[in-house]
């Protein structure tokens, strides 16, 4: 069978499942007792295993299988979750990700995973791998487990309850074999035989099958209901040779009930688990209700290329709509007017739907950050808490694709340069754990992404000194500048403020790349910082890159488009209103001096018409700076499809792109940011 056609689906789904694993692992780290999370991880791992085996990626399947075993042990409470185990599972997920990425890049998905597999196997056997991989220095987990109380599920509790009602007593026996015991399985068998004669075995920890295979250390726990006394049981078992000790504890059902009540959630899930094997589907629904998560909407998977094609076709339609509107105006036919207007409305709705279809929640970018932050914080020996707000904010797919790397840069920067080490933080009277807020929200036609840390902030003096040293600034200039202007300097290329160069950041290439990428998307980034209190990076992005509202203007015989987002208002002035101020023509606009930019001269438009004594002015802004663009006439407002000038003309002066007008001609879009200095 040809697998290629499924490869894409496989890769996509694998990524999703791995993402689920990572997310749930992080959640689990916060609430290690919540076994339902383990179940979620287990299910993702299980699906992944099945898929990769089907696709013939043995290494992938193998590693997932090992991971699954460990997860199984955890959810059946045979293994206790420790930070070390967490690390191993994280490592396994990392390896899996690397393998999937390798497959996505056309590789064979092979990777040396021996270490991780070994560690997983050790955990599975109940041994705890130490941080160094040497096999000799393994420590044994079961010693710590002896005090651990056996946890009973609902079913077992019911049995215990019933036996008690019928006059049986329940005992929990912890049996320890001699350290040099050779036939552990045989001893277990003998103990079990005795117990079975005396009463009924309710539960064994580890479970019987593992005991029989000698997959335990030296002690195990058995719960029995019997009419025999505690002492009798102990004596009988001690008769078996090579048994070191037997601890018998009479079970108090009341106490267990309480413990069970605390773990009610977990144990209900445990029962669910039993059913799950047969009817995975129903179980899933139940769990969804319980955990209060919204049930997933019905979705279908559509290749992004198809959506792109759809948008392209729609763009053609928008252009033709413009043409029709123009023709209808010229013909002045009532029926034509009506149907064109109707069509305009429908295409308007259609446009909303198509653009919305391409909207993706920023979560698709944000979701990889928690894991990254966790890893980074560990590498740098810092304590960092990442708080994400507004992950459901939606952005156009094209923006989403580009925004990942700049955000990674900024986050790395925040951890590396912003957040101090725990000792420093304590010294400054801050909480040991640093916090990074990652917040996304809509505002007007823009989406804002804010990255805020409560770290050291930017030291003005340091930036200044560095800039002067690198020749970016003179001392006189530096004195004139505001804090904000100084902070902006760290976006200059070749600028790195870190005193120490680290692996994470500080190569001086990060921030200027960030700025360039964001500008290329039509966005901007600003910094705010308070020394010792932290820094805030605010990224402003356009909602969509493909269809924008513009004002069409005419200069001589040429038409240009000015994006509405940068227009404040329009005005008509008389040429006598123009004042001359130091090489610059200005007007008095509501008490403010407004510089005038004659687009005809700036854009070198050939003169074919006589000039009027009245000027049409479009007042535009860049940040808090205003300017008046002098044009010949306003044509009107229109929705246009943004197109690039092509690969050949990558950067034309003051032109951010082009669009096709109703008459089929091309109009250039003016980039106001480039005009205002």
């Amino acid at each position: 069978m040809d697998m290629n056609q499924y490869l894409e689906v496989f890769i996509e789904e694998s990524k999703e499942h791995l993402q689920m694993c990572s997310e749930h692992l992080l959640e689990l780290e916060k609430q290690p007792k919540d076994l339902s999370i383990v179940n979620e991880i287990f299910r993702s791992a299980h699906t992944l295993k099945g898929m990769s085996a089907t696709m013939g990626y043995e290494d992938l399947a193998n590693l997932t299988h090992k991971m699954e075993n460990v997860l199984d042990a955890i959810r059946n409470q045979k293994t206790e979750l420790t930070p070390v185990i967490f690390d191993v599972i994280f490592q396994a997920v990392d390896d899996l990700e690397a393998m999937v990425m390798s497959i996505a890049d056309g590789g064979d998905g092979k990777r040396n995973v021996k270490q991780v597999v070994e560690k997983l196997e050790m955990i599975e056997k109940g041994e705890l791998p130490t941080s160094n991989i040497t096999t000799e220095s393994m420590t044994i987990i079961n010693e710590g487990m002896q005090e651990q109380e056996t946890i009973y599920d609902e079913f077992e509790l019911t049995v215990l309850q019933q036996s008690e009602d019928q006059g049986f007593t329940s005992h929990e026996l912890t049996i320890t074999l001699n350290k040099d015991c050779l036939l552990k399985g045989a001893r277990v068998y003998m103990v079990f035989e005795i117990l079975e004669k005396a009463g009924e075995i309710i539960k064994a920890t580890p479970p019987v099958d593992q005991l029989e295979e000698e997959r335990f250390d030296h002690s195990f726990t058995v719960t029995v209901v019997t009419k025999e006394s505690k002492e009798d049981l102990q004596k009988k078992i001690m008769k078996v040779s090579e048994i070191e000790s037997v601890l018998v504890k009479q079970l108090n059902l009341q106490e267990i009930r309480q413990v069970a009540a605390q773990q009610e959630e977990a144990s209900t899930k445990e029962i669910n688990l039993v059913h799950q094997r047969e009817e995975a589907g129903t179980e899933r629904d139940q769990k969804k209700e319980k955990s209060g998560k919204p049930a997933g909407n019905k979705t279908i998977r559509v290749n992004i290329e198809r959506l792109d094609t759809l948008l392209n076709l729609f763009e053609e339609l928008v252009i033709d709509r413009g043409r029709l509107e123009q023709i209808s105006k010229e013909l002045d036919n009532q029926e034509l007017h009506e149907s064109v207007e109707r069509m305009s409305r429908v295409t308007g709705d259609l446009q909303n739907i198509i653009l919305n279809m391409r909207m993706v929640p920023v979560d698709t970018v944000f979701n990889r950050f928690p894991k990254m932050i966790r890893q980074l914080a560990r590498d740098l020996n810092k304590k960092v808490n990442l708080e994400i707000v507004g992950a459901d904010t939606e952005l156009d797919r094209t923006v989403i694709d580009e925004i990942g790397d700049p955000l990674v840069h900024l986050l790395r920067n925040a951890i590396d340069h912003g957040i101090e080490t725990p000792e420093q933080r304590l010294g400054k009277g801050k909480p040991e754990e640093g916090t990074i807020f990652l917040k996304a929200y809509h505002s007007g036609n823009h989406v804002f992404i804010e990255i805020k840390d409560d770290g050291a902030g930017i030291k003005r003096k340091q930036v200044e000194a560095k800039a002067i040293k690198n020749g970016i600034l003179t001392i006189q200039q530096a004195e004139m500048m505001t804090d904000k202007q100084i902070y902006e300097l760290i976006f200059a290329s070749g600028f790195s403020t870190a005193e120490k160069i680290s692996d994470v950041s500080g190569r001086g290439v990060g921030l200027d790349v960030v700025k360039n990428t964001i500008s290329a998307l039509g966005g901007s980034v600003t910094i705010d910082s308070i020394e010792e209190a932290g820094s805030t990076f605010l990224i402003q992005l356009p909602l969509t890159l493909s269809i924008i509202s513009v004002m069409l203007i005419e200069i001589q015989n040429e038409k240009f488009a000015v994006p509405l987002t940068s227009i404040i208002e329009t005005a008509i002035i008389k040429n006598t209103d123009i004042l001359h101020a130091h090489n610059q023509q200005v007007i008095d606009f509501r008490g403010k001096v407004l510089p005038l930019l004659f687009l005809k001269d700036i854009l070198e438009v050939p003169t074919v018409k006589e000039e009027d004594e009245f000027y049409s002015v479009v007042i535009v802004r860049k940040g808090d700076k205003l300017a008046g663009l002098v044009v010949d006439s306003f044509i009107g407002q229109q929705e246009i499809v943004l197109k690039s000038l092509g690969e050949y003309l990558t950067s034309a002066f003051a032109i951010s792109g082009a669009t096709i007008l109703g008459d089929g001609k091309v109009a250039l879009i003016i980039d106001c940011n480039a005009l205002i200095m």
């Binding site: 392209n312 854009l603 438009v605 003309l649």
Partner: protein, 156 residues
């Protein structure tokens, strides 16, 4: 460079500029269009005439006469825009006329003679002799060098 054993055939599009015939491999040519409205793009080099809308795609246009420093001429009914594509870059070339598709053998391509004409040598990758015609093969990489599009980086 060209060896005798090569018997491969190649299709070329032939076009005219002033009194000479030039050629481009057909696999680089996407379409040949009549002259349509060209929107000027400010502050570019003179040989870039602007951009056109070709079925919804915006395509920059180079006037080959100006590019090769041949004296300018008013566009006529014969004037054509040859849409060429190179490394995902689509560009239109304005030529006096274009009307031939010819099969040539690779072995007939010769390195350019020392003196071919007024156009700069660097734009030529070879010549083909065909009966009494001399076809000049263009080096598209050189003709479409994107670094030459801006007047000067400093400007503006």
């Amino acid at each position: 460079m060209i060896e005798q054993i090569e018997q491969e055939e190649m299709k070329i599009i032939v076009f005219q500029l002033k009194d000479k015939e030039y050629a481009l491999p057909v696999n680089h040519v996407k379409a040949i269009e009549k002259i349509i409205h060209i929107t000027r793009v400010p502050k570019t080099v003179p040989f870039i005439k602007g951009v056109i809308n070709l079925r919804g795609v915006i395509i920059p246009i180079i006037d080959l006469r100006i590019r090769f420093a041949i004296d300018d001429q008013v566009y006529t009914e014969q004037t054509r825009i040859i849409i060429v594509t190179l490394d995902e870059m689509d560009v239109g070339l304005i030529v006096d006329s274009a009307n031939d598709v010819i099969d040539i053998f690779m072995e007939n391509i010769e390195p350019q003679p020392d003196v071919v004409g007024s156009i700069a040598d660097e734009f030529i990758s070879g010549v083909v002799k065909l009966d009494k015609r001399l076809l000049i093969l263009l080096n598209l990489e050189k003709v479409l060098n994107p670094e030459e599009t801006l007047l000067s980086v400093k400007e503006g």
